[in-house]
Symmetry: C2
Subunit: 672 residues, 2 copies
Amino acid sequence: MNEKNIYNCWLRKGDYTNLASLEEYLEFCNTIIVKENKGVMNTAVNELKSAIKRITGIDALVIGEKVKNPHIILDLMQNNNEIGAEGFAIKRINNSLIIQGADDKGILYGVFHLIREMSTGKTLKQAEIIDTPKNKLRMINHWDNISGDIERGYSGKSIFFENDCVIKDLGRIKDYARLLASIGINGVVINNVNVHKYETKFITEEYLPDMARFADVFREYGVKLFLSVNFAAPIEIGGIPTADPLDVDVINWWKETATKIYKHIPDFGGFIVKADSENRPGPFTYNRDHAEGANVLAKALKPYGGIVIWRCFVYDCKLDWRDKSKDRAKAAYDNFKPLDGKFMDNVVLQVKNGPMDFQIREPVSTLFGAMENTNQVMEFQIAQEYTGQQKHLCYLVPMWKESLEFDTYAKGKGSFASKVVDGTLFDRNIGGVAAVSNLGDSQCWTGNPLAQANLYGFGRIAWNVDLTAQEIALEWVKLTFGNASEVVEAVMSMLLKSRDVYEEYTVPLGIGWMVNPNYHYGPSVDGYEYSKWGTYHYADFKGIGVDRSAATGSGYTTQYKDFNAKIYEAIKTCPEELLLFFHHVPYTYELKSGKTLIQHIYDTHFNGVNEVTLMRENWISLKGKVDAETYYLVLSKFNIQVEDAKEWRDVINTYFYRRTGIDDINNRTIYK
Amino acid sequence: MNEKNIYNCWLRKGDYTNLASLEEYLEFCNTIIVKENKGVMNTAVNELKSAIKRITGIDALVIGEKVKNPHIILDLMQNNNEIGAEGFAIKRINNSLIIQGADDKGILYGVFHLIREMSTGKTLKQAEIIDTPKNKLRMINHWDNISGDIERGYSGKSIFFENDCVIKDLGRIKDYARLLASIGINGVVINNVNVHKYETKFITEEYLPDMARFADVFREYGVKLFLSVNFAAPIEIGGIPTADPLDVDVINWWKETATKIYKHIPDFGGFIVKADSENRPGPFTYNRDHAEGANVLAKALKPYGGIVIWRCFVYDCKLDWRDKSKDRAKAAYDNFKPLDGKFMDNVVLQVKNGPMDFQIREPVSTLFGAMENTNQVMEFQIAQEYTGQQKHLCYLVPMWKESLEFDTYAKGKGSFASKVVDGTLFDRNIGGVAAVSNLGDSQCWTGNPLAQANLYGFGRIAWNVDLTAQEIALEWVKLTFGNASEVVEAVMSMLLKSRDVYEEYTVPLGIGWMVNPNYHYGPSVDGYEYSKWGTYHYADFKGIGVDRSAATGSGYTTQYKDFNAKIYEAIKTCPEELLLFFHHVPYTYELKSGKTLIQHIYDTHFNGVNEVTLMRENWISLKGKVDAETYYLVLSKFNIQVEDAKEWRDVINTYFYRRTGIDDINNRTIYK
C-alpha cells in the first residue's frame, strides 16, 4: 500500500473518510453515461470509474443510454463555443454532472480535473467549470539513452530502455502515460536530444515496431510520441555521403523515412533536433543555416501532420575564457533572430527559458518576443541538474512562472513571454512549453517524492500559466498528503520558499555556475571559470560579475526591448537578483538593503543553511502524519541537503573571504 | 620498419654502418659458447645472437664446447666473489669476450649490457665490467583492469586484458618481458592495486591457468609475476563472512589459496595490497593493524618463498577542508611508524616517494629512515598522472634520483633513502624500487615515444642509483635515435630540462595539485581546494602555502630527522623549491633571487611556456634526422604541450593576479 502511494504520486488513494463533499458525490456517482466508448474516451471512462471507486467506494455502472436517476455524463460536443481544442466543461445540471469536451482528450482532461476536485473534497453543487489549455504543445523531453542511463537523470534508470534494449514490459509506461494525461501533457520525447549510435536507428525498421508499441500506449492517454533524431542520420544510417539539407538524396531520404515512420505510427508527433549544439552535427557543416536544416525535416513530416521541434541551444562551446568580448548569453539570439520568417510553419523553435542553461536564476531569453514570424516553445528543466539534483528540495514552479510572465515588450507593455509561446501575441498556430523530465525508474519516479511536485506543477502551468505557484502547490500537497492542515501548511511552506532558499546558499545574484564541472552538483566556485564553456564570474580582488551592458560590456542588454534593455543596462535599475548576471560589481557596493555585496553574500549563505535546517525539522514534525515510506525517503534527502548546504555556505563564504579579506560584520564562522 | 623502430624502443635496429668499434666486434662475434642452454640462459643466447646479427650482420654459431678462434663465452660462475646475485661481469680475455654471471639472470643482464655497449659503439678491447644490481626488487606495477582499461593509463588499452577477458595471444607480452629484462626489471604486477570484482578471482582456479601462462612468458626473461589482491577476497570469493586477519577460517583460506597458486606458478612472486586506502577494504574494518593484515598473507606465502608488498598509501580521504589541523602528508608515517618490527620478514612496505601523491615536486616521504626493522620499497610513478600524462615531455629520472639520494639522517649523515630501500642501511634482506607503468597497447607502448625514456630510466636507476640522469638519458637517446650528435644533443637537452620546465608553467614551489579533479590534467587552481582529499593550497588575498611547521602549523616537519627537520621548519632555510609545501608565504615575500613570490610565479610561468615553445622548435629542427613516424608522433604531442602550457600559464597568472591585484613588473599579458 505504501508502495502504491509513492508510486501513484498525486493519483494515489488517499484517506477520504472525512472528505467535505463525500455525501454530495454519492448522489451522482452510481452511473456513468457515455455514448461511444473507445480509445481515449474509454480511458476516460475507466479512470473515472476507478476514481469513483477509490473515493466513494461505489462501483459505478457504465451505460450508453440516458437514465433517470442522477449520473455523470461524458459528452463529446464538437461545436461547443465555450470550449477550445482539448478543453472541457464540467457542469452541474439538476442532480447530474456533465463533462463536455471538444474532443475525447478534452473529456479525459475533464475527468482528471473532476478527480482532482473530488479527491480534495470540493463541492460540485454549482459546478460551472470551463477550461481550455492555453498551450497547444505541452511536452516532456526525456534524455534517456538505450543503455538505460539518463543524461542528467537523478531518479534511477530509464523506464523506456534497459541494457541497450527497448523495454518489453509496457506496464510502467502505461502508468506513466496516465500520470502525464492527469496533468494535461500531450506530447513526449522518449530519447535523449544527444542521439547516439543505436538511438539514431530508432527511425528505421529495426526499431520502429518498438516505437509503435510505445506510441500505442501513449495514444490511449492522448499523448503523442516524438523522437529525437540525429541530423547526421542520412550519413550514419542512410548510407549517403552527406547530411546537407539541400542535397536531393538527403531530402528524399528524410521523406522516405517519414513515410516509414507514419506507416508504423499514424499519429507520430514529429522530431526534436539538437543540431550544431555542443558538438552535435548540424547544418553548419554544410554552410547551411538552421532554417535550411529544420525545413528539410519539416517538409518530410508535413504531409503527415508532423512537426519539427528545433532546439536553439546553439552556442560556441569552445570559447576562450581570456576573450571577454565573447558572450555565450548572446548566442541563441545572434544565431536565430536573423532567421525569423524562414522556418516552415510546422517548425517550432524550442528555446530554453534563460540564455545560459537552467541556472537557479537567469533573465529570460531574448529570443522570446524577437521572432514575430516563427513558432516558439519555451523549454524548462524539471530535472534539477543545477538546482540540487532532486537531493535538494527546489520547487521550480515560481521560476517557470517568472519566465512565462516576463514582459518582453515585443508589442508594447503586456507582451508576456507566455503570449509569445501560446501563439496569441504574434498569431502563431503552434507553440507551447516543453520540459526535461525528472523521472526515472525509482519507486517514486523522481528519486525524491517531493520532486513529484515539479512534474505536477509543470503540467499545470503548461495547461494554464495563470494558476499561481501557491494554487498548484496546494493541489499537489492535498492530492499527495491529504487535507490535514498541519501537513498541508508545513509542506506548502517548504515548497514555496525552497527555490529562494536554494539560491541563498548557492550562487549569488544571478551569476550562475560555480558548480563542480560535469557533475553540476556541489560548489566549485572556479569550476567553470577557466573553461571553454562561456560560463564565467570574473571574481577578482575588487569585485565580481559579468558586464553585459552596452556601455562597457558585451552588449547583451541590447538584445532586450525598450524598458528591459534600459533597466538591465544600468547598475542602479537592474533587478538586484540579476545584478551579477548583468554587471561587474565591487564587493563593497551598497545594495538597496543597505548591505554591501560581500555582506549580502555572507548573510544569504548563513541564512540559507538555517532555512534548510528548519525545513528538515519541520519535516521531522510530520512523522506519523505522512506515510512512512515517503517520510523516511524525504528525510534522507533533507539530511543530505542540510550537509551539502553547509558545504555550499562554507565554500562560498571562504572563497570570498579569501578573495577580499573582508570579515563578516556579525562574526559568524568563516573558515579562513 | 618504422613500425618496428617505434615498437622496439631502445632495442630497435639502428644504423650501425659508421659504428666506432664495429671492426673490433667482428673479431669475436662468430661464435657463442654456452654449456647448458635452457630457460633464461637460452633467452640470453637468443638475444645475443640476434643482436650480433642486427649490429654486425654475423650469424653467430652457438656451440657448447670451447673453440680456438675468438668467441663470446657465457659462463655461469656461482662462486664468483666479484659478482652478487643477478650480477654479471664482462671481460676481455685475449681476443675473446667472457660474460660471467652468478646465475642465469646475471648472464641475461650481462648480455643486454653488452648489447647496449655494442649498439652505441663502445670499445670492448679492455673490457672489465663488473656489475651487480643494488636493489633486489626492481618492479613494475600495472594498474590494468580486466575491462582492458588502465587506471591512469595514457597509452591506450591494457596489453594483458581486453573486454573483460585475459588476452590469449602472448606475443606482445613476450616482447614486453624482453624490454623489461633489457633494463633489469625482475618483477611485474599485472593488475590494478584497486582490485575489482572479476580481478579478485585471479587467484582462483578460474583464472590461475591464465596467470600461469603469463608467468611462463615472464619467467623466460627472469621476471617474476606478482598479483594485486583484494583484502576482502575471503568474503568476496571465499564465502567466509569475514576477512579478519586473525580469524582461523581466513588464515586457512589464504594458506589454501597460496598452495593453489604455487601449484600453477611455482616461482610466483607474491601479492601487492592496497588496503584501507581510498575506500579499499583492509584490516581496520576488524580493528586490526596493518601488520596483522599483512602478516596473514605473508604467513600463507612464506613456505613458497613469496612476499607481500603492502602499500603505505593510507590516509583519510574524507578530510574536512575546514579543519587545518589535519594534514594528509602526515598520514603514512602516523599509520606505519608505530608498527616497525611487527611485520614478518617476507613483508615489504611500498612507500610512495613523496608524502602526497606523485606531484611534480614533493619532499621525500618521512617513512624512509623511520623504520629500522621493516623492509621497504620506494614507489615511483612512470605514468605521468600529474606530470602531463605523456602528452607533455617530462623526463622523470632527475626527480627519482633526488628521492633516492635524499639523506634521511636516520643513522647520521649519509643515510640516503637509496640505502634504506636497498637494505644496506639497516641490514634488511629485501627491498628495492617499484614504479607504476606508463605502458599500454599503443604502437610505441607509451603513447609518446619520448616517454619511453622514463621506463628505460626507471629500470636503469632501479639497477644502479649512481648512474646520473645525464648518463641514462644519453644511453637511451643513442639506443633510440643513434649516435648523430645533432640529434643526441637536441633530445638530451629537451629531456634534461623537461621536468623543470613542466614545473615552471604548472604548480609553483612544491604546493602541488591545482589540476582538474579526477582527470589530473590541466589547470584548476581551486580544483582540489575544498575537497575531501587533503590537497590544499590555502591561497588567500595575502599569501599561499601550507604551514607544516611545528611552531605554527601541522607539525609534519617533526617527522623528519635532525638537519631535515630543522631546515624545513624555518621559512629562511627551507629549500625554496619546497617553500609552499612547508610554509604559508605572503605574495610579497622576497625570495633568494630578490624577486617577490608573486613575481616569481609570473616569471616562471612566462618562461616555462617560452621553453616549451623552444623545445618544439628544436624538435622540428630534427625533421628528417629521426624516423618519420616518431617525428610526427612526438610533434603532435609537442603541439598539444605548447597550447596546454599556455593554458596553464594564463590560468595560473590570472588566478594570482585576480587574488592580489599585483601587476607583472615586466608588463607581459596577464588576462584580468
